[in-house]
């Protein structure tokens, strides 16, 4: 056999051994965290473009965050600018805030280099409770307004939407909230030490300079899907009967399965078990 063919075969074997050794290392000894999540946090990915072709199953990690709207009110929003991402926090994360703030012709919008960080996702914690409190408060205020002006159709519609929003938040919206980010994985693991409440996932943070104001948002999680191996994919198929999960508008449904998710040393997750709800 020619020398190049032998080197090719060795390369193939070596690379596969290294990849699988990395997987074994990630899953060895103590797990970093182990969370019992439901379909609210891990819903089946529906890739409609290849629905007939792909027999594999993966779950999308659904997360949210608390951010402020234009009136500076705290709201629940996935792609907003998280409230905890202050200027000081961005400095801590290595963003060169001072150089971004230098006045120039591009004060309306300035593109700033995004940074790689480790995000902390809190499950069913203070952030979720705050989101519930906000929704309850909004509903109470709207109820008062509607009672004062009973014929106002706009207020009736708004009240209905807020009721639906609260119910959705209680029943089918995710309880995973991004609450912090850092550069040092170990420091974050030590700071958020409750192994049943936190997930740590690497991702990208994008700072912006818009209308002479520095802001930032979560651009992406590097692991945004979790693969479902057999036999767990069968359990999920049975539990859902092929019906997609919905948490939009008024057509939200209760979760139908629970997933015990582990996070390993390399912050790579895997499914420990799946059960019907």
């Amino acid at each position: 056999m020619s020398r190049l063919t032998i080197i090719s075969a060795v390369l193939l074997l070596l690379v596969n051994v290294m990849v699988l050794a990395g997987v074994a290392y990630n899953r060895s000894d103590d797990k970093v965290t182990q969370l019992l999540l439901t379909e609210r946090e891990l819903s089946v990915v529906n890739d409609f473009s290849s629905a007939d072709e792909n027999s594999g199953m993966s779950l999308s990690i659904n997360w949210s965050s608390l951010s402020r709207n234009k009136e500076n009110k705290l709201i629940t929003q996935r792609w907003g600018e998280p409230d905890w991402l202050s200027e000081d926090k961005l400095k801590q994360l290595g963003v060169d805030v001072d150089s971004i703030k230098v006045p120039g012709d591009d004060d309306r919008y300035r593109d700033v280099q995004s940074i790689e960080v480790v995000f902390v996702l809190e499950f069913d914690g203070d952030a979720y409770k705050t989101a519930l409190t906000i929704a309850e408060k909004e509903l109470a205020e709207a109820t008062q307004k509607q009672q004062a002006d009973a014929d106002n159709k706009g207020l009736v519609r708004s009240l209905k939407n807020l009721k639906s929003k609260l119910e959705r938040l209680q029943l089918s919206d995710t309880r995973l909230f991004i609450i912090d980010a850092g550069l040092d994985k170990q420091a974050l693991i030590e700071k958020y030490s409750d192994k049943k409440q936190y997930l740590f996932i690497s991702g990208e943070l994008k700072p912006y300079w818009v209308d002479s104001k520095l802001t930032a948002s979560v651009k992406d999680l590097f692991i945004s899907r979790v693969h479902v191996p057999l036999p767990f994919s069968d359990i999920i198929t049975r539990a859902t009967q092929g019906e997609a999960f919905s948490n939009y508008g008024d057509e939200f449904i209760a979760p139908r399965y629970a997933v015990l998710l582990n996070l390993g040393k390399r912050l790579e997750p895997w499914i420990e078990s799946v059960s019907d709800l």
């Binding site: 075969a9 193939l12 699988l20 280099q113 191996p229 895997w270």
Partner: protein, 356 residues
């Protein structure tokens, strides 16, 4: 004889020589004596036989036409087979347990590599071996990307490096230019990703900064000058063209999108700088190509010089000129280029450089 391309050139030369001698004899300009004719014919016959055995070259026009057909069929077959392997796995992987999935993924590139080697030993044309080598490469891409998906591994740019290495190894082992091009693309993407991550960028977004590709372009273009490619047919032009494309496409993008640059200057200044760079580099490539007899570089330089010129003309005059005048200017520019090339051609004929 170093490679198939040079062997084929020699065979074409012999065929042209025979045709020319026949014409000269018909027109009574030259008459070879029978012993001379026989000696030349015998020598050519034996040489063609050796070349044919060694490199599987085409010794007649008919063979040449059939070879072209086989090359096209092999190329399309390789692409279709690779796509088929990909979708086959995609369709059935959900029904396999994790150990079975891993076994299939690890074994597929290994088995196809073995099969490629086996077929290469028994099939002289090499078309089937090249097709299988391509399938093996795709299996390896599938291997790593699907293992990443199965075990939820954080995506890494190192995959590009090992794909590049495998592409290069297969290309050199089985003389496959398409795999060389694939290897070059993976290597360029890896270097661009690394250059991007030095500036704090996440590697998957390397394309957002076209300047990341300038360094890989220089490395790839210059590779045939410090690693001898003569034993491999047509490999040096693949490196050179890939190098040119990896340099000139980002320059073309930056010449109209200064915001994507690392340079800390106003967009208009950056765009002007890259427009000038585009003209200078593509012009220099044409000149170098003519001097070194690299027709591939001359053609690439020409195409980009014209592209830069027309882009600039569009920027300047599309809005302010009536359409008929704009296209007339384009036509006049083309005529001007024709005159320039005619002069260069005439000059090279005078100096005896007519092999480019």
């Amino acid at each position: 004889m170093d490679n198939k391309l040079i062997a084929q050139q020699r065979a074409d030369q012999i065929r042209a020589f025979n045709n020319e001698v026949k014409m000269l004899e018909d027109e009574k300009v030259l008459t070879l004596e029978p012993p001379q004719r026989e000696a030349v014919a015998q020598y050519h016959q034996s040489l063609l036989k050796t070349l044919s055995n060694q490199f599987d070259i085409d010794t007649s026009d008919r063979e040449k036409q059939l070879s072209s057909g086989m090359k096209i069929a092999s190329f399309l077959g390789a692409l279709a087979m690779a796509a088929s392997v990909f979708f086959l796995f995609y369709q059935f992987w959900g029904y396999l347990t994790t150990p079975a999935q891993v076994s299939v993924l690890v074994l597929a590139p290994l088995l196809t590599l073995g099969l490629t080697y086996f077929i290469a030993q028994y099939e002289t044309t090499g078309y089937f071996a090249k097709l299988l080598a391509m399938v093996s490469f795709v299996c390896f891409i599938l291997n790593l990307s699907m293992l990443g998906q199965i075990f939820n591994i954080t995506p890494s740019d190192k995959a590009l490096l090992v794909w590049a290495a495998y592409g290069f190894l297969l290309a050199y082992a089985f003389d496959v230019r398409l795999l060389l091009a694939m290897g070059i693309m993976c290597l360029a993407a890896f270097i661009a990703a690394r250059v991007g991550s030095w500036s704090g960028m996440y590697w998957l977004y390397m394309g957002e900064r076209p300047e990341n590709f300038l360094l890989p372009a220089l490395v790839i273009f210059s590779l045939p000058t410090w690693i001898n490619q003569k034993p491999y047919s047509g490999f040096a032009p693949v490196y050179r063209v890939a190098g040119c494309l990896l340099f000139l496409i980002p320059v073309l993008v930056l010449s109209s999108w200064g915001g994507a640059s690392y340079l800390d200057f106003p967009d208009a200044v950056i765009e002007g700088f890259y427009q000038l760079t585009g003209f200078v580099v593509s012009g220099a490539l044409v000149a170098t190509g003519i001097k070194k007899h690299w027709s591939d570089v001359v053609n690439t330089g020409n195409v980009f010089f014209v592209l830069f010129l027309y882009t600039k003309l569009f920027d300047w005059w599309w809005e302010i000129m009536p359409r008929y005048l704009f296209f007339l200017v384009i036509a006049l520019c083309s005529l001007l280029l024709l005159f320039v090339y005619k002069r260069i051609r005439h000059h090279s004929q005078l100096t005896g450089e007519h092999h480019v």
